[in-house]
Every structure is written in structure tokens, then in C-alpha cells.
Point group: C2
Chain length 263, copies 2
């Protein structure tokens, strides 16, 4: 990283706000919890919170910021309208543009959801010695739409989306134990091996992200993915919503370690 | 128990519906999850669900049943309006009566929350050999209002309420480990020993339930309590709400064991 790479969450958020940072946030301000952002009008907020409550593995809520507020408790001084590097705006379920900030689009009835992401447990996997192929190959983790339905809530429904990491057979149990401690950020895998049982036909063709090599002696291990709630929101055809742009997350002041059980 | 004691959750619910059971549910249909009931109008449902999300230890949501529905997924065939032994009705935050059923009061805008209770982890404590003084003495567990504030959400706020069980010093760690596995029903204790640090002045004078003896060599151990959300709802002065009567819970078809981590 260059010398001007922000070192703390507050520095990163300030750089986003000032237009000095518009890149993905992977690896920035290491050790801090990064979150998916989903912003919906108040009239849809109960159903969306209930969707998250019913599907805690793919939709682990870090914090909900009520209508009329833009400063989360997990990041004092932050402004959710400006402090992410890049946003996506959707109208009637269709992408209506990408923005560096959304101040001019903000409305008093918008409720913001910060949802955990796998960066938190990947740090722990890596520390435990479990290799992360997509990191080694500088690509995005492969993600797949499954044949498993989420539990619907109001207008929100759709398939479970999973991310996949190849794990050496001897480390599968370790990978389960390490991630199981992170219930607030997807937790233990939803599936080990047998992609066909999830309705995934071809691991080399992910629905999002990039394919990764699975080497002899490795098993594909599947974790619930934060794309699940995003896909449910888009499929609902909601008149208006805002999300982060893929990979351009909100960086909180929370420590990843604080999300582990007992943390 | 007499011969006519219901043996399954469905039998117990049917007996309630038919007016053949109006007593507390402690110890009935052992092994099944029993739940607190809180019913609020839809306009307050988002704030109440958010209150539960922000305070997961005292408010572990088992299931939310949306407006227009009275049959929870955790108890197929059940009717929340008739299948509890006893209800309390509140108007403007004040008790407006106890009822054996609430069919005539039901409205299409009512949202029902089923919230976990400590019966689930008490079964596990008992199985692990941790004595339960209030069960031995056939009394209600003592509960205390603390000086610890919950995280507010909209109109809902108030103190954390805890239940207390005296645990022999040598078994405190065991009691923590056993209950920590039950995150969906209050989980690990919020405090061990030192009631004054919670703002509790006199253990012999609980705010709810009955006092229990603490013997030499025992420590008072405090768990987050499901009275917390009830107290917050009442203090909010909500125009209308319905709850179970104390001790008269909704008995689900879920197994207590299914609420343990990994279950």
C-alpha cells in the first residue's frame, strides 16, 4: 500500500468523505469490522429487519440506524451518506447509478442497515493458518446462488447466496471451529463439499466474484453470504434503495475480535 | 403431576384452547421451548423488533408472527389468541385485565413476538448438575431491576432486568459454559457476584418473583431476563398490547436442545 493509505477506520472514512479514496476497502484498516450497507425507506424497514432476523446467517445485523440519523454508534462522527468509497442507487429494483456520495439523494425516511461481512472471519481464518485462495490470487471470492430458499418476510424473499473457499481436507474442522465463533458475521459454514446438494452445478462459473482453483485434497466449503439480503432487496422491486458498491464497504470502529463469541 | 397433565406441546395448547388448562407452564411438556409473548400494534413493531435486535441477551427473539397471522411456524396448528393458559391486556401502559383467551380483542394490525425464556437453559443447567434453588423451593426465580440501561429503540427503553440463581463457587464456570451455548435464550450470565455493581441493593427483596437462600460458598449469578422487554413495552405507554401472564407461557414444538449453539 502507498503511504497515503488510511491506517484507521476514521482516516478511511474521512478520505472517502473528502474524495481522496474511491477504491475497494479489502485489507484497509486491518482488524476493523467492515459492513455491507442497505438503506431502505421506513415503510419497508420492519419487513427487512424481520427478513434479517429470520435469516441470521446470511444477514447478520451489526447495527440499524433509524430514519433521521446518519451517524452509527459503531463509528462515532461518521456520516453514512458520504463515508463509503462508492454507493449504488436502485429505483424499482433496477440499478439507477453509482455515486461517490448520496447526500443529495438522502431523505428523512431512510433507515440504514449495516450487515456483517466475511472480511471479519477471513482475518481469523488466515491467522489460524487456513489459506484463502481468492486472496492469494488477488481476486474476489466466488459467490453462488443456491437452490436453498431464505425464510421470506413481507416482500423480501429469494435464494440463499453462499461464498466458497477451498479448504484442505485436514483443515476443514479447523475452518468450521474458527468461523463458528463469528456468529455475528455469518458464522460456521452452511455446507461442506457436495455443491450439487446446494443446487450449484458448476463451481467454475460463480454468479458473483471470480472462480478459484480447487486443488487435489481440498474441499469446497460454503458460507452464507451478505449478497443474500442485497439480492432480496433488489428482487423485491422496492421503489428506492441505496447500497454500498460491491467491495466498497463501510468501515466501522469495531474490532473484528469483538464479534467472536464472548467478545 | 396428575394423569390429565398434557404430555406434548400440542396437547398443552389444545387444553388451553379448550379451557382445560389455566395453570403455569413450568415443567409441562419437558424438553420443549417455552416463550414469552408480546403483542403490539404494527405501528410499534419496527421499534420493538429493533429494541430486541439491540438487546439480544434479554430479548432473544424466537419468532415474529406478522400482522394478520396467529399461527407461528414453531407450533403448526397453534393459535396465539387461545393457546396460552392466561393473558394480560394493557391499555396505555396499564394493566386492563387478565384473560383466558383474547380472540375478541384481536385486531388485524397486531404483530406477535415470541421471546425465549430461561426454562430452556435451566433444563441444561439441571442436567449438568447445577442446583436450581428456586425449583427446589417451588418458588419463582427472583428477578431484579438493575442500574444498567438497555439500548433504546424508538419509544422502547428502560433498565436491564436480571434473574438470579445462587451457584456453588466450584460450579460457576460450568454454569457459564452450559448457558453460553444457549445464545437464543439469554445465553451466558451478564454478571457473576457483586450485585451492588448492578445497582441491586438487597438480594432478599427482588422486584419480581421470590427471594431464595444464598448458602455459604455460593455466588449470586445473574442472567438477562425476559421481563426486560415486557417492562420496556409497559413503560412506553403503548395504547394497546397483550402479553402472557407471568409463568403462563406459550409452549412451542421446538426442542430446547435445538437452541444450543450448533443446534
Amino acid at each position: 500500500m502507498s503511504d497515503d493509505t488510511p491506517r484507521t477506520p476514521a482516516e478511511l472514512r474521512r478520505a472517502c468523505r473528502d474524495g481522496r479514496w474511491d477504491r475497494p476497502t479489502a485489507g484497509v484498516a486491518g482488524g476493523s469490522v467492515q459492513a455491507n450497507l442497505v438503506v431502505v425507506p421506513r415503510e419497508a424497514a420492519f419487513d427487512f429487519l424481520l427478513f434479517c432476523q429470520r435469516n441470521p446467517k446470511p444477514c447478520p445485523v451489526i447495527e440499524v440506524v433509524e430514519a433521521g440519523r446518519v451517524e452509527p454508534a459503531c463509528a462515532p462522527g461518521a456520516d453514512l451518506r458520504t463515508d463509503l468509497p462508492r454507493y449504488r442507487v436502485y429505483r424499482d429494483g433496477k440499478l439507477a447509478g453509482e455515486r461517490a456520495e448520496v447526500r443529495d439523494l438522502w431523505r428523512d425516511d431512510l433507515v440504514s442497515f449495516l450487515i456483517g461481512c466475511s472480511f471479519s472471519f477471513e482475518e481469523a481464518l488466515s491467522a489460524a493458518g487456513v489459506p484463502l485462495r481468492h486472496v492469494e490470487s488477488c481476486s474476489n471470492v466466488p459467490m453462488y446462488r443456491t437452490a436453498v430458499a431464505t425464510a421470506a418476510a413481507g416482500r423480501f424473499r429469494g435464494p440463499l447466496v453462499v461464498s466458497m473457499r477451498p479448504v484442505p481436507a485436514a483443515q476443514v474442522a479447523l475452518a468450521v471451529q474458527v468461523t463458528a465463533r463469528f456468529e455475528r458475521v455469518h458464522g460456521a459454514p452452511v455446507h461442506v463439499g457436495a455443491p450439487e446438494a446446494l443446487g450449484i452445478r458448476d463451481l467454475s462459473r460463480p454468479d458473483w466474484g471470480d472462480p478459484v482453483e480447487i486443488r487435489p485434497g481440498e474441499l469446497p466449503v460454503f458460507w452464507a453470504c451478505g449478497v443474500t439480503p442485497q439480492a432480496a432487496v433488489l428482487a423485491s422491486g422496492l421503489p428506492f434503495c441505496i447500497t454500498h458498491a460491491p467491495g466498497h464497504m463501510f468501515v466501522t470502529d469495531l474490532a473484528n475480535a469483538s464479534l467472536a463469541t464472548g467478545g
